[in-house]
């Protein structure tokens, strides 16, 4: 176990942030006891991904503090960020502490989403460590009056080569703080062969706290005089209370205040939903008080939303020509001339992120200033939204970031933090607004429901010659612009327009769909339904052609090449990164398929009732192939004895964290095949984990084999890419075992029919 101490907990319990005193750049703590900013931000390579914001602190006792500016929600980013900085600094890991940053623009983007913490920060983190290392070497050279070229940092001290003298980081801290930081171009980064921590499976810095119940999540924040609030929100989006009687709620012992929150007007954005707040001395009283409330709702026009008819409407749209977003060759002609054609339609319902810790935030508003403790993926957006809602300056809002009990995109939306600030201002005391599970499922930002129509033509040799794919779903843009019905570039760039298949005649279209609930990001987002359709249909084509699914998938992908979407006039976001640095590389996609085929011994003979399925997908710039083995009983119950995953995420900081994300991302994909949220009269039907099914121990894969491809390519995403291939690999395996094709999720009892 490492000796890394978790200071985040102590930080927000005492209410003052170490990071609060820091300014852009690299810091050394001098003996005067203050923390003066000593260096400008490292300025590294140019390009759109560059946001200078890396933080190192060295105390006189030699303790190295590394500031993590991203939110910890299980991906172990606090550990991996520290690994990168500590490596270039050549710090002794046992003397490194990790501090959690507050919201501040000085860090650059803190949005912990899009699987980009490492890929967007890797170079900057290395430069920050290297800069500190260079300044320590200069300070030692000055101290000994020797050329700096004779001084070299080695594991938390500077050694003078010719004399063998050494001096520790702590002793050099003050002198180093007086030096001018070297320009970025003069920084020498380690050769990968010299990496001490990067690429090694370093244990998480928070493990010990977690297993002792000492990790402090948003739900665990306790402040003196703190009240707890729960909110009865309109069950239908843009509804509002018509009338309510507060008296029965106020009669509950411990309930102190009951009041209405501002009504939400379109677009929903990140604003709170409105409703009636119940503020109490403790959590149970607040929950009981809300239960006692009697509210009549004015539901508004979204009352018409019903998942049954909505699905039918999506289907009608998907069967008509839509807006063409990519076209090559002549699909209609090729389909007409095909030896055989195949048509299939795929449906994926609304899903909920459902982190184990529901949304929760604690706010204290005093004298027009707000201090917030939030389980948030987006501290800066939170600060902005809170400031806007209260009509105050952003500089008057302090956002402390707790550990997150899961995020999965739900906690990218700061509505719950804004609620806490509004309620605290109203009652004049610190208030924790906690969401119950029912709140989380019934008032969330839903993963979009989707319907997809695919047609393909096969020639006499079984090769696919034509591919038509229409995708229809309410876009995330509808949450921010109520009139939006066509998908945005971001939605369509997730496994749709970047179709990797080498097919001469291809047309990709998008149809309109209206949003009636808040649509939001969920781990891997639109890749979930796009990969489900594309990888299921590829398997259907293999079956139709009487070919091995893995070999057929490789044939569909075609030879190793970099797909030039720009040359096809396709708008492609590439997850915000340059296509030159992160091309759509079919060679790497093929390689993960070959890798997982080997590890899973693809093609072996299976016992009765067993089946294997494969799927592969590029998302967030990483390549993942998944093989699922299922065991299906005669009455249609299935279990998953084993799963094999191969991931190529470029350069990897912590292979064990990557393996963990591949395991967890697979289980998340399994849950996407098990659960659904449905609407009736505009409100979500499912209330808790009895009706919203997520994967449990008995359903989860019993064992995993994860192959992390060794690569010198730039780091890609890790947290999301393992999720999309899972559901199609699972359903392909179920077909292999039973001959039953699952085209509509959830799987439910379709295997029993």
């Amino acid at each position: 176990m490492s000796g890394v101490e978790n200071v985040s907990r102590r930080r927000f319990l005492i209410g003052t942030g170490l990071a609060g005193g820091l300014v852009l750049g690299v810091w050394f703590y001098g003996t005067r006891g203050d923390r003066a900013p000593m260096a400008a931000a490292p300025s590294g390579s140019s390009g759109p991904a560059f946001e200078p914001n890396v933080f190192v602190g060295i105390a006189p006792d030699g303790t190295v503090t590394i500031v993590c500016h991203r939110s910890e929600m299980g991906q172990q980013v606090r550990t991996s960020i520290a690994q990168v900085v500590a490596d270039e600094l050549d710090a002794d890991w046992s003397r490194v502490v990790v501090a959690q940053a507050q919201a501040d623009e000085k860090y650059g983007s803190q949005n912990t989403d899009g699987s980009r913490s490492i890929r967007r920060n890797f170079s900057r983190l290395r430069e920050a460590g290297a800069m500190a290392r260079a300044m320590l070497e200069q300070a030692a050279a000055d101290r000994w009056s020797v050329p700096v070229t004779e001084c070299r940092v080695t594991l938390h001290e500077v050694v003078h080569g010719p004399s063998g003298r050494s001096v520790g980081f702590g002793e050099l801290a003050e002198a180093a703080s007086a030096l001018e930081p070297p320009p970025s171009r003069d920084l020498k980064l380690k050769a990968p062969a010299d990496w001490r921590y990067i690429g090694r499976p370093t244990p998480s810095v928070d493990l010990n706290d977690i297993v002792h119940g000492r990790g402090v999540f948003g739900m665990d924040v306790q402040l003196d005089g703190m009240k707890v609030a729960v909110i009865a929100r309109p069950p239908v989006l843009f509804g509002k209370p018509k009338a309510f009687d507060a008296a029965p709620a106020l009669a509950v012992a411990g309930v102190e205040r009951v009041f209405e929150l501002p009504t939400l007007k379109p677009p929903a954005g990140f604003k709170p939903l409105g409703g009636v707040a119940v503020v109490a001395a403790d959590t149970w009283a607040a929950i009981q008080g809300r239960r006692a409330l009697d509210i009549t709702w004015d539901e508004g026009r979204n009352r018409s939303y019903d998942s049954g008819p909505y699905r039918e409407a999506l289907q009608v749209t998907a069967r008509k020509k839509g807006r063409v977003v990519r076209e090559q060759g002549n699909v209609d002609q090729a389909l007409a001339r095909a030896h055989k054609t195949l048509t299939a339609e795929y449906y994926v319902p609304h899903l909920a992120q459902a982190p184990m810790e529901p949304p929760v935030a604690t706010a204290h508003v005093t004298d027009g200033k707000v201090e917030l403790w939030s389980s948030t993926q987006t501290p800066q957006v939170t600060r902005r939204e809170v400031a806007q809602a209260l009509g105050i300056d952003e500089s008057d809002v302090t956002v402390n970031v707790t550990l997150l009990g899961g995020g999965f995109g739900r906690k990218s939306k700061p509505d719950f933090s804004v609620e806490a600030a509004l309620v605290s201002r109203e009652v004049g005391a610190p208030v924790k607004v906690m969401w119950t599970r029912e709140d989380d499922l019934q008032n969330g930002y839903l993963h979009a429901v989707s319907y997809q129509h695919l047609e393909a033509g096969i020639d006499a040799r079984g090769q696919t010659t034509a591919w038509l794919h229409r995708t229809v779903f309410p876009p995330i843009g509808s949450t921010f612009d109520a009139g939006r019905t066509f998908a945005g570039e971001g939605d369509l760039s997730q496994g749709f327009v970047d179709n990797p298949f080498d097919i001469d005649h291809m047309r990709l279209e998008n149809g309109r769909a209206e949003g009636h609930v808040r649509i939001g990001w969920m781990r891997s987002v639109a890749n979930i339904y796009h990969a489900f359709a594309v990888q299921s249909f590829a398997h259907e084509l293999a079956v139709a052609a009487n070919r091995d699914p893995k070999e057929y998938l490789l044939d569909l992908i075609g030879p190793p090449r970099k797909i030039d979407l720009a040359a096809m006039d396709v708008e492609y976001a590439n997850y915000g990164d340059p296509i030159a640095r992160y091309p759509v590389d079919t060679g790497r996609l093929r390689n993960v398929i070959e890798t997982v085929s080997k590890s899973s011994q693809w093609g072996r003979t299976l016992p009765e009732g067993r089946g294997m399925g494969i799927a592969a997908h590029r998302s967030f710039l990483a390549y993942v192939a998944t093989v699922v083995e299922v065991d299906v009983t005669p009455d249609g119950e299935f279990t998953i004895p084993s799963v094999w995953v191969a991931i190529d995420a470029g350069t990897v900081v912590n292979p064990d964290h990557v393996r963990n994300q591949c395991e967890g991302g697979s289980v998340y994909g399994l849950s996407a095949a098990l659960g659904q949220l449905t609407a009736k009269d505009g409100a979500i039907v499912q209330r808790n984990f009895d009706t919203y099914e997520v994967a449990r121990m008995k359903q989860a894969p019993r064992s995993f084999d994860v192959q992390v491809v060794q690569s010198d390519e730039p780091p890609a995403g890790v947290g999301e890419p393992p999720t999309p291939p899972f559901a199609p690999a699972l359903c392909n395996a179920l077909f292999d075992a039973t001959g039953k094709r699952i085209r509509s999720l959830p799987i439910g009892d379709q295997l029993r029919a």
Partner: protein, 149 residues
């Protein structure tokens, strides 16, 4: 009324129907026991009553009686516990929010003495949800801890 938690006696004078979870978290400030569903559907609030795993979110505090309540903070004196060590060794937790409940459930399973089979692990652990999906590592950790004992 009085309840015993982790070897200490506490006075509680609130609503006797208050779930034990909120007495632990709000009154005693033992926040290691987590809220996840409030309806005994996720296991995040799992504690021991006289060594048996129960869901604190649906256990009225008045039902505790003279039973000894053990929370994650009190799991084994001095803090060392074979499950904790294996949990760390195998890197089980991701976000960690459900893990106190998982550990308490697993500890109750292991207290039966004989190493559990996969089916027994399914049986005992399927009430404890983990959205990060750490199930395979939890399973491996239970096997390892039970074999090392």
């Amino acid at each position: 009324m009085r309840i015993r938690v982790n070897g200490q006696s506490h006075e509680f004078d609130g609503d006797p129907n208050t779930p034990l979870l909120w007495v632990l978290r709000d009154t005693l400030r033992l926040t290691g026991t987590k809220f996840g569903c409030g309806a005994a559907l996720c296991g995040a609030c799992t504690v021991h009553l006289d060594g048996n795993a129960v869901r604190a979110c649906v256990t009225p505090v008045q039902a505790v009686g003279n039973a000894e309540v053990t929370t994650i903070e009190g799991l084994s004196e001095g803090g060392a516990h074979p499950l904790r060590e294996v949990w760390v060794e195998l890197g089980v937790p991701q976000c960690g929010y459900c893990q106190p409940g998982q550990l308490m459930q697993a500890a109750a399973l292991l207290s039966a003495g004989t190493p559990p089979s996969d089916e027994e692990i399914d049986q005992a652990m399927s009430g404890n949800l983990c959205r990060c999906g750490t199930y395979a590592r939890i399973r491996a950790a239970i096997h390892k801890a039970s074999q090392e004992r």
